[in-house]
């Protein structure tokens, strides 16, 4: 239980998707102009990561890993399908996003309206595929660990985008050198936020 909580905290602060691995930067930069939209996108990412990472974990554990197919028949014990993981993960993600979109539209139209076009965009957000690939690389031991990693990464991404959106809203009133306006200053602020987040590295979990 403690291990699961540790993974959660670690993936939020120490291995933050944006600041430590630069994942999901494209939508992070494009959608962080106002706090309101970035909260919407952030929630959608938490949601989708929380679903796709466990699903991909099951897929990896029972289909892709070396010897994973042995539950089917003993003769499959040395089959290694891990080279297929990119294509299967991305297929799972694309279909999950579609599924989530339909479910949300059906049952909670209000949430659907607020997430708007962000849901379909998430299929090509590198943070989502990155979550699944890191899960595979780090070899988590149980479904619960993988789930807490997925949720934690999502929350970390959410924090990052809401933070930068808040700063960008304020920085509109300051006098930035013309050539740095917009994109340039956003990069530099993200870098500074990253340095701030590095102070969490000292936490031993």
């Amino acid at each position: 239980m403690q291990e699961i909580f540790n993974i959660f905290i670690k993936s939020i602060f120490i291995d933050n998707m944006v600041f430590a691995y630069f994942l999901g930067m494209c939508s992070y930069l494009a959608v962080s102009k106002t706090v309101k939209t970035s909260v919407g996108l952030g929630l959608a990412v938490v949601f989708v990561l929380g679903i796709t990472v466990p699903v991909d974990y099951i897929l990896n554990e029972y289909v892709l890993k070396e010897g994973a197919l042995s539950w089917l028949d003993a003769s499959f014990a040395d089959v290694d399908l891990s080279f297929l993981s990119f294509i299967l993960f991305i297929a799972i993600i694309a279909s999950m996003v579609q599924l989530v979109e339909m479910i949300v539209e059906k049952f909670t139209p209000a949430l659907y309206a607020s997430l708007g076009i962000f849901l379909p965009l998430i299929a090509v957000n590198c943070a989502i595929l990155g979550g699944s690939l890191f899960m595979q690389e780090r070899d988590y031991q149980s479904l619960a660990q993988a789930t807490s990693f997925g949720l934690g990464s999502g929350v970390g991404w959410f924090l990052a985008i809401v933070g930068i959106a808040a700063i960008r809203e304020k920085i509109r009133y300051s006098n930035v050198p013309p050539a740095l306006r917009g994109l340039g200053i956003t990069f530099i602020i993200t870098g500074l936020m990253g340095i701030a987040f590095m102070s969490f590295l000292g936490i031993k979990l």
Partner: protein, 218 residues
Amino acid sequence: MSEDIKEKEPLFSAKNIKLIKNPINLSNPITVQVLGICSALAVTAKLMPAIVMSISVIVVMAASNVAISFLRNGIPPRIRIIVQLVVIATMVILVDQILKAFLYDVSKQLSVFVGLIITNCIIMGRLEAFAMSNKPWPSFLDGIGNGLGYGLILVIIAFLRELLGSGTIFDFHVIPQSFYDFGYQNNGLMILPPMALITVGVIIWVQRYYTRDLIEKN
């Protein structure tokens, strides 16, 4: 590279040359179109992985641009994203397997980032914006051009970070020992992830200072 294009215009007409030249500065995928940042930053602590990554992206981009361009009239618009993802994923698997076979160490350093070429927004973006509505040869050039523009930025960042951060280029020490004797020290901060972002910020600053058209209105 179909026959009818050759008849209409030379293979390297002014228009086609532009397809390669524009993305290097005026419509650079990273600093102007803001695509493909994710993978760009993570692999630039050293020069070698950055170059391998750029070459992989150029190959994947050119190949999938051509493939989609050939298929463009047969893809139903509603499922085009999935089709594009499958094409890209196939190319990326090929590149990944080749890297694992011939450049195992670099492939270990790149870790998940080779896989993340799939969701690299440059590739999806160029497929959507260019290959879906253009013939294979221009699409091929567009892929190469954008790949080069991406690679250029990657190499600049990696060069600065490796030189200032570890005092090496391609793992060879270029900063002479006498500098260290005088008290010069490697800037360890440059190797850490956040400095990649700040380096990009500075590159954007320099580029926009010289190319005034690109300055954004606040």
